[in-house]
Every structure is written in structure tokens, then in C-alpha cells.
Symmetry: C2
């Protein structure tokens, strides 16, 4: 289990290598949500998402000889970029297995951070086979995007920082995909801020965590299909276990509420965030957390990686 | 002429009523621009634009009896919202003359800030007639969006704040529309930071300031047509005079460069800004200010008011 000292060590590493992201407030969104909300802008984190925290913690915690053989992961999203940049900062290779049909802009981003990209056919089996092969060939250490305990610890530093910046908070809402951010936050809160309630919010159309936590049994997602593309992933045994123990509650939100929330954050707060980051606000729009009315609530804006169309 | 004491008084007022907007940096945009850029985020100002500074200064500088009769302006943009909110904060009425075809979202914004909207036919003559009528009926004071000297002074506080936050800057780039921000900034720099160079940047397709300043004679715009809708307005005698005296240079940029710059700010900086705010970056993209290569440069991101399409 992750303990206090793990978080203290992670905070020290992350203070050195990551951005101390700002918090902000919006009186117009407070009026809509009927709560006092403090927004933690992980969109301004390096690589544009909280994922950099976990990657830094996992990469820099490796023993020297193990680190020298490099790290590997399979992802087409923010975790791939985060591992690539963390490895670059550590001076070690990062092998990223990506599907052949990954968007060129994401491939370019990983390469831009110095990652070595290996393509595989776009199936889960091919991806896992590609991953296995690269690890056999290089001896690299696999960094799972959400099950790795160092990754979970690193993500939890977002909540610890938020509470340093806004110690008066009574609850924090985080989006749930693979559960790394949610479980890191919930565990960190339990250890450092025992009175603080951490809620998870998930798209209705990718509700494996909601189903797992409400039934008490880890289930696999059934055809996750949501605009919040960062949340299509599923809980694993580690995140499921931590969330079962520490989460104050989990709610789901509709696609329309996510779109409405995204638009509000862009238009009112003037922040570019990705759809996954809008999911906690969607819970307020659909009044899924009535117990938070009038409360001081933190929301972690998980990331800001959006591709806009070419204009000309 | 605006002097040191005017700025000192404006700073005092604005510190009390406006947001101290943050600055930020982007290593990826620095690499593209080959300069060290500090961005002043007026998109996070109240009403989403620097215009609130000038409005506060103009409204709160009025003698008591004059203020009691209210203020008036004609605008369909950020200035209208800024005057409406400043008047609301001062507890006086604001009469805003808007064309019948103004976007409903802008009308709603002005009303949301407590402004009294009067519609007029969508012609310059009708607008000026409507303005005259409301002033005759109410005795309200007209607040011109760029020629009013208190407005110009208020806008200049954006530069003063930026230099407090980043005293090492060697030059500052600002967009030029009516010239209120540019002339306020250039005058403030001349008084408080005599070594600092202030440059104006204008769309090629709305280049009245460039033509006026390069020929030394105030000209009217010829069919301004640019995506940077905040910059379609023209210089007047006051802004022309101040800019003639204090501006280090003025350059123009293409529509494509504005679009490219807008996209870069959204994607790389994760900031929602309006097209007008992207114009100074466009000058770097087109290498219009080669003398700033390697320099420490401030850019004022003038505003963030963009309407996104309805999603469903």
C-alpha cells in the first residue's frame, strides 16, 4: 500500500521536475454550480496533463541499473508523452508502442519528447505483443498508465498541491478513467487530509468504475464510447482496491452534460481543457452531487490536450 | 496630455476593482519565436478583456453629480460589457446603444452586467443618432472606447502591471484597433520605463493605424475585414497623437498568420483567447520584428471572448 513517505518523496521529486500548476476561480461558474469551486489547472502541467506527475515519479524512482535499460509503455495519449518526457529528463530511453492508426499529431508529440515509437496493428493483442517484444529486446521497465503504484502516488500529488493552495476545501472531484488520478488523490486525502471527501466522476458511456464500485466487483468496460477519450480506459486491481477503500462516492454523467461543461470552461474560464477534464463540472450541471451545494469544492482540470482543425 | 499622476491614480483604482491578471511563459512558443516571451493574460480580466481597465478608470473618475446621471456608449463588443460592469460596480446606470443585429449572446452579456440596452438600426448614422438621443434624454456621460483619455490611461495599466511582474522586459507588443491599449501602453512606458520599446501590430486587412503612422496623417479605415474583429475600429486624434510620439514601431500581419497564431496559443498555451489577441504572435510568425530576436519581450493577450458553437 502507498504510505505517507511515498507521497512525501513524490512531492519532492515533482516539485523539482514538474510545474506547480496554478489554481483559479470563476464567480459565474460558482453561481451555476451553487458551490465555491477552486480549479486546479493541470492543463498547464508539462505535456499538458497531470499524467506527467505519475511518469516523473515512476521514472525517477527506478534503481539506477534498471533505469539505464529504459522504460516502455503502450499508449496513444497523454501517458505516452509524459513517459517520453520524463525519460528524456532522466537521460534514459523510452519505448512507446503505438497503434499504426494513432493520430500523426500524437506520434509527433511523443517523438518530439524524444520517445522511440514502435508501431503495432491496432488491436489489444498486437499492442500487448509489441509491448512484450520491446521489453524482451531492451530490458526496459514497463510503466503502466494507472496500475503502477509509483504512477498512482505521483498523480496524487495534484491533490496535495491543491490542498496547499486551497486548504479550506471540503471535497474534491476528479474524473475517473483508469483510476490513477482518482486513486492517488483519494489515498493522499486519506493520509494527509482525513476530513476531505474525494468523489470520482465518470461518463455514463464508460462507466466500468461506477459499476465496479457499486457492485463491489471489478468489471471490464463494455464498449466504452465517450467524447471524454481519456476516460475510456478501465480500472485495474490496484486502482479498484484503493478506490473501494477511500472514495467518498462515484457518479456518472451524460455526454450532453460533458459537452455543456466543456463549453462553459472554454467560454467562461478562458481555459482550453480536454473533454475528460470537463467531466467533474458535468456532475454539477446534472446535480449529481447535491450534498456539495454551498460547499468549498476542488476540481482537478486533468488536461488540456485538444487538436483544433487546420484553419485557412 | 496624460501624465504620471494620472497613471498612479488609475493604478490605485484598478488594483481595487479589477483582477491582477497572471503572466505566463511557454518554452515551445519561445522556440518558435526565437525570443523570451512573457504573456500578460488579460483574457482573465473581468469581462474577459483589458477593456475593463479603461472603463473602470473612466467611470470612477467622474465627478459625483455627473456620475449620478450615468454613462453611455455604443459598442457591440468588449467595451460595452466593460462599461456596463464598471457602472454597475459604481452603482450608476449604463446606457448601451447596440445595433439591432448584434449577436444575442453579446446583448445578453451586456444585460447580464446590468447595462440598459437601446437598439438602433445597424448603420453608423443610426448608432450616432441613438447615442445622441440617449445622452439628451438622460444626461449620461459618453465614454468613447478609445479616444477618452481616462480610458487610454486605464488601458495603460496593463503594461504597468506587466512590468511589475516582469521588470526585465526590453519590448512589449500590443494589438492595435482603436489604439486605446497601444497608446495607453506606449505613454505609460515613456513615463515609467523610458528604455522599453512598445510596438503595435495590426491586421493587414485593417491597417488604418499603419497607414496613418507611416504617412504621418490620420486616415480612415478602408473596408476593414479581418477575423480579428476587435481590431476593425480606427484610430482617432488622441490615440494617433500619442502613438505618433511614443510607438517604437508598427507592423501588419496577414490573416493566415493570425489564424496560425490563434491555434498555437490555444493548443500550446491552453489559453482561450480571441483572434485580436493572437495578432502580436502573428508578427513573430511572419518575422515582422526581426530586431526582437533573442530579446525579452512582453505580449499583451488582449482578451478571451470567443463564442463556441452549440454542441449536441
Amino acid at each position: 500500500m502507498i504510505d505517507t513517505q511515498d507521497f512525501v518523496a513524490a512531492r519532492r521529486l515533482i516539485r523539482r521536475y514538474a510545474n506547480l500548476t496554478p489554481i483559479c476561480t470563476s464567480s459565474s461558474l460558482d453561481a451555476i454550480c451553487k458551490a465555491e469551486i477552486v480549479w486546479k489547472c493541470e492543463s498547464f502541467q508539462k505535456v499538458g496533463a497531470f499524467k506527467f506527475r505519475g511518469a516523473i515519479n515512476a521514472v525517477f524512482s527506478l534503481p539506477k541499473e534498471e533505469a539505464a535499460r529504459g522504460v516502455a509503455t503502450h499508449s496513444s495519449g497523454n501517458h505516452a508523452q509524459a513517459v517520453a518526457l520524463a525519460a528524456k529528463m532522466a537521460g534514459i530511453p523510452a519505448h512507446i508502442v503505438m497503434p499504426e492508426n494513432a493520430p500523426p499529431v500524437k506520434v509527433a508529440a511523443v517523438k518530439g519528447y524524444g520517445g522511440k515509437v514502435r508501431f503495432c496493428p491496432p488491436t489489444l493483442e498486437a499492442r500487448e505483443a509489441g509491448q512484450k517484444k520491446v521489453i524482451e529486446e531492451t530490458g526496459a521497465t514497463f510503466i503502466h498508465p494507472s496500475e503502477n503504484l509509483r504512477v498512482i502516488t505521483g498523480q496524487g500529488t495534484a491533490l496535495l498541491e491543491l490542498l496547499e493552495q486551497a486548504p479550506e476545501l471540503e471535497a474534491v472531484l476528479v474524473p475517473v478513467g483508469g483510476g490513477g488520478l482518482a486513486s492517488g488523490s483519494a489515498r493522499a486525502a486519506a493520509l494527509f487530509h482525513p476530513g476531505l471527501k474525494v468523489y470520482g466522476v465518470e461518463p455514463e458511456q464508460a462507466d466500468d468504475a461506477w459499476r465496479s464500485l457499486t457492485t463491489g466487483k471489478l468489471v471490464r468496460p463494455e464498449h466504452p464510447d465517450t467524447i471524454a477519450d481519456g476516460l475510456r480506459t478501465a480500472l485495474g486491481p490496484n486502482t479498484f482496491s484503493i478506490l473501494s477503500q477511500h472514495l467518498a462516492g462515484i457518479v456518472t454523467v451524460s455526454e450532453q452534460a460533458i459537452l455543456d461543461a466543456l463549453r462553459l470552461i472554454w467560454e467562461r474560464m478562458k481555459l482550453v481543457v480536454e473533454p475528460s477534464a470537463a467531466v467533474p463540472l458535468a456532475a454539477f450541471l446534472e446535480n449529481k452531487v447535491p450534498e456539495l451545494t454551498g460547499k468549498r469544492v476542488g476540481i482537478i482540470l486533468s488536461g488540456g490536450n485538444v487538436s483544433f482543425p487546420e484553419w485557412s
